[in-house]
Subunit: 122 residues, 2 copies
């Protein structure tokens, strides 16, 4: 029969992973990083979903009021501001610019679709 | 001399914007949407900065252990998971896939640079 110490050791082994996982091919360190990345990606998707909920309202508002889908002045200010925020957060400003251009292009596509649908309805 | 009521009215006028701004060319509704978008964009930039802090550690870990920069199986699982999360959040799954591919490509570029720098140092 197993001693109390042995039972306890087994119990602890099931609840906590050893620092270096002995299982061949398993990389506990990489696994830990990936869990954090997966959490962050879920947050990004939900924040992007909320951004598109707002830009959809912007699209409807613009279509209703005959405003152009794109606003180059506003885009320049957004890009400049995000480059500054990125620098402060130690994120490559070039990447932040590519990222926001990528998002804005998608939004403009949505706005143009919104306008086309509105015109078809009227 | 202004009456107390007049002073109070002026004070209130300075502190709160009327629902429909009478200033020509000013669109209070659009302005409100844009403030929300700017807050969301600042959040996205900071979350992306944190994601790259983690993937930089992944890159160093991979370079140290001779692991390949890209992992197609992992990428497929990430894309599939984020498409599901996007659908649940009413975000276009196609856009979520384009978005995560865009981020992953940038990460792989970083990993390859990391490896090249590591090789140059050794």
């Amino acid at each position: 029969m197993a001693s109390t110490a042995e039972v306890l050791a087994r119990h602890v082994a099931h609840r906590t992973l050893p620092p270096d996982d002995p299982e061949p091919g398993h990389d506990a360190k990489l696994e830990g990083y990936r869990r954090s990345i997966d959490n962050i990606d879920a947050a990004l998707i939900h924040i992007l979903a909320e951004r598109f909920r707002i830009t959809q309202q912007v699209g409807e508002h613009k279509a209703r009021n005959g405003l152009p889908a794109a606003d180059p002045g506003r885009e320049r200010r957004q890009i400049e501001r995000l480059r500054c925020l990125a620098s402060e957060a130690d994120l490559d400003p070039e990447f932040s610019e590519k990222f926001i251009r990528f998002v804005i292009e998608e939004v403009i596509r949505h706005h143009e679709r919104e306008r086309a649908t509105g015109a078809a309805d009227s």
